[in-house]
């Protein structure tokens, strides 16, 4: 990717990107749509021999052979038995029955996590710069599990099983389904097996935002990643005939349009034409005009294709209320721009006010320095419907307008009519934020070889930040009045890898801790065995509560505890900072809640030492608050270290 390494504070030759850390061998496994192996992002010039521990291989298949792998791309396998048992044999006119990528998604995510450093990458001059994966020296192993109609759980489980046996260190999954109890969730089960073998698992949170409880991949042993904007945008200026202007976004690279007559798609075609769906627009009403289409129903670039096919000369793509002020930049096939919901309302009001409405679009190219991070409206939100005692998502990372590698045989819009061939494409999704974190985990693994997956996760979470580059709380693109995002949107905050490499303290979690967690969820022995492969008899004399899991954040639910309005949790911190250090606690109490700490300071005398504390949350009264939430934080401070945990309280 270009720019996101800099946005994350990674600097060539320094810190996590110094020569020593980059030389360390880490293998990142990508479960996705495969890879385009010939891409410059995956070449192996100057790369050392494949690590001896590696047991994986490159499998043959359609237009793919072991010779497509090298010292950078060290593994490539395809899993389709489950998919074909449901969808029938893979149609080889649209997909490769092999690890080769026909959709682009897997090539993009693999490059984001661990693609090579490539100079002069851009999308038709936009997002220009040196592209690099977050750990650009890591090895890549690809497991193709996603095909034209989706990704079968049975294939995914087989791929994770194989990847862990092959010897990957990090797994990156930019996919998911609906939240399920962990004992029936294939990703949760497979990930639990993976973390038991020391493999870090990062998953995308989903694109179901801003609806509440839309977050997926909720298991506490998974790093669940939300998506946010960096400070880079691709702005456009839309000017209405009456002079009013609005900012939009687009990856269209042509000249500004003239002032063109405006037409609302809803009045220029059949039923449903407002979404500019296939064949819905009438040529005689659209020809030569700037068409206003609503987001939803079909792909955004497809709307542009429909307008172009109907003879339109431009497109204003307006958000509905759900999309809020989200501004997607898309590689449209005609002059087009996205517009936020409030601009959309203004455009429609203007069109209703005159019979001669006009508009123009000017394309401003790549612009840096915008307020960021900004939580993407589409990014899925908590609270978790299956594990409300843990805040999900865990963190946010760059996931909007991300430039990374793309197969030259796949058009940037995925439209058949789009004949463009590019080496880099700009796309958005929690799919794009997840591999950023996977690559960062690989970097941390290089520096801290003995850290458990939970320790790496804790380091990334407790050092994440919740304010933007202007010192204001991170805002939410779903909000039309720039309201702040909450931990149910971004978890602990935006990742800060350099700080995560030296977090001071970590909240580690052992397998035993997770087993107690399952008991606290009242799982049966059989359900626990399904997830953990262990025979566990839960203690019946021990008051276990899910909130006692040694998690780096606090989700407090008063709903089930209304009798006392008081919840007490225990946490244990491990010193990984300086030998002798004393930490003092600083609490930002959630509105309506008192927070009591015992003790209020922790004095560590050696590295690896563990000290515990109790934290009690007291609600000042839940009456009238049912269904509401409030947020705060708990921070342990010592010198340069600040170990922060968000608190999310729900009544």
């Amino acid at each position: 990717t270009t720019h996101s390494p800099q946005f994350l504070g990674l600097q060539s030759g320094k810190g996590l990107w110094n020569a020593q850390n980059l030389a360390s061998d880490v293998i990142v496994g990508i479960l996705d749509t495969g890879i385009w192996p010939e891409h410059v992002s995956f070449q192996d010039s100057g790369v050392s021999a494949v690590p001896l521990k590696w047991k994986g291989k490159c499998e043959s298949g359609t237009k793919f052979s072991p010779s497509n792998c090298n010292k950078k791309l060290i593994g490539a396998r395809a899993f389709f038995k489950g998919y074909e048992s449901v969808a029938g044999r893979i149609n080889e006119t649209v997909d490769y029955r092999s690890p080769r990528d026909s959709q682009g998604h897997g090539t993009h995510t693999a490059a984001t996590a661990a693609g090579n450093l490539v100079d002069k990458a851009s999308f038709y001059g936009l997002a220009n710069g040196s592209a690099a994966g977050m750990k650009y020296t890591a090895r890549i192993a690809v497991y193709k599990v996603c095909w034209t109609s989706g990704c079968a759980s049975s294939d995914l489980l087989a791929a994770i099983d194989q990847a862990v046996a092959d010897g990957v260190d990090v797994l990156s999954l930019s996919l998911g389904g609906f939240a399920k109890p962990f004992y029936s969730d294939s990703i949760a089960i497979a990930s639990f097996g993976a973390i038991q073998k020391g493999v870090f698992v990062s998953c995308s949170a989903g694109n179901g935002g801003p609806s509440i409880s839309s977050v997926d991949n909720n298991a506490p042993w998974i790093m669940t990643v939300a998506a946010s904007y960096t400070d880079r945008r691709f702005p456009t200026t839309v000017k209405l005939g009456k002079g009013q202007t609005f900012e939009g976004a687009s990856l269209y690279t042509g000249k500004a349009t003239a002032q063109l007559p405006l037409v609302y798609a809803g009045t220029a075609g059949d039923e449903g034409a407002e979404y500019c769906t296939s064949g819905s627009l009438k040529k005689k009403l659209v020809k030569g005009k700037m068409v206003v289409c609503k987001r939803g129903m079909n792909g955004r670039a497809q709307k542009g294709e429909e307008v172009k096919l109907a003879g339109g000369t431009g497109l204003l793509l307006i958000n509905t209320e759900t999309g809020g002020e989200e501004l997607f930049a898309d590689a449209h096939v005609l002059p087009a721009t996205s517009l936020g919901a409030s601009a959309g309302i203004a455009v429609k009001e203007y069109m209703n006010s005159t019979k001669r409405a006009t508009a123009s679009i000017a394309f401003k190219g790549t612009v840096y320095g915008n307020p960021a991070p900004l939580l993407a409206a589409f990014s899925s939100r908590g609270p978790s419907s299956v594990g409300p005692d843990v805040i999900k998502p865990d963190v946010t990372a760059p996931g909007v307008n991300i430039l990374a590698a793309w197969p030259p045989m796949t058009s940037p819009t995925l439209l058949k009519s789009d004949k463009r061939s590019v080496l880099f494409n700009v796309i958005s999704g929690t799919s794009m934020s997840c591999p950023h974190v996977s690559g960062l985990a690989a970097l941390l693994k290089s520096v801290h070889k003995t850290w458990s997956p939970a320790a790496i996760k804790s380091a990334l979470m407790t050092t994440a930040y919740a304010t933007d580059n202007r010192g204001s709380p991170i805002a939410d693109a779903a909000s039309s009045n720039s309201a702040s995002a909450t931990p149910f949107g971004f978890g602990s905050g935006h990742v800060d890898p350099e700080r995560a490499s030296d977090p001071g303290l970590i909240y580690d979690i052992t397998i035993e801790d997770y087993l107690n967690y399952f008991c606290s969820l009242n799982y049966t022995s059989s359900q626990i065995a399904q997830v953990s492969r262990r025979n566990v008899t839960c203690p019946d004399n021990k008051a276990l509560q899910p909130g006692d899991l040694n998690y780096p954040s606090f989700a407090v639910n008063f709903e089930g505890n209304a009798r006392n309005n008081r919840v007490k949790y225990k946490r244990t911190l491990t010193n990984v900072g300086t030998t002798s250090s004393t930490y003092a606690v600083k609490v930002e109490e959630p509105n309506g809640v008192s927070v009591i700490l015992e003790p209020k300071s922790l004095s560590f005398e050696k590295l690896g030492q563990k000290l515990s504390y109790n934290v009690t949350f007291v609600s000042s009264g839940g009456k009238g608050r049912e269904g509401s939430s409030s947020f705060g934080s708990l921070v342990w401070l010592s010198g340069k270290y600040s170990v922060r945990s968000p608190i999310a309280v729900t009544w």
């Binding site: 049975s154 046996a165 799919s431 065995a529």
Partner: protein, 98 residues
Amino acid sequence: ASTDKQTYIIHMDKNKMPALYDSLGNSRQWYESVIDSITQFSSQEQEEEQETGFPQLLYTYETVTSGFAAKLSTKQVEALSRVDGFLSAIPDGMLTLH
């Protein structure tokens, strides 16, 4: 009849694996024998099984979980649930890219 069958992910308790298979070092043979066993019922049931086809073993899982994926009929899943070591049968589902 074949439309009656669907792919299930079967979770098994490896601790219940008979020593014979344990000594062979992998569980595939156990799962194959389990699948064989669920097709050996009454002659009427066998006839039905032959109509719907024998279970098709797609994958065995060894490293991160214990079990297998197979295309099974509802009746075969019912029979499987009576096998010692059976934990659960989860219908295969389709996930999507994010």
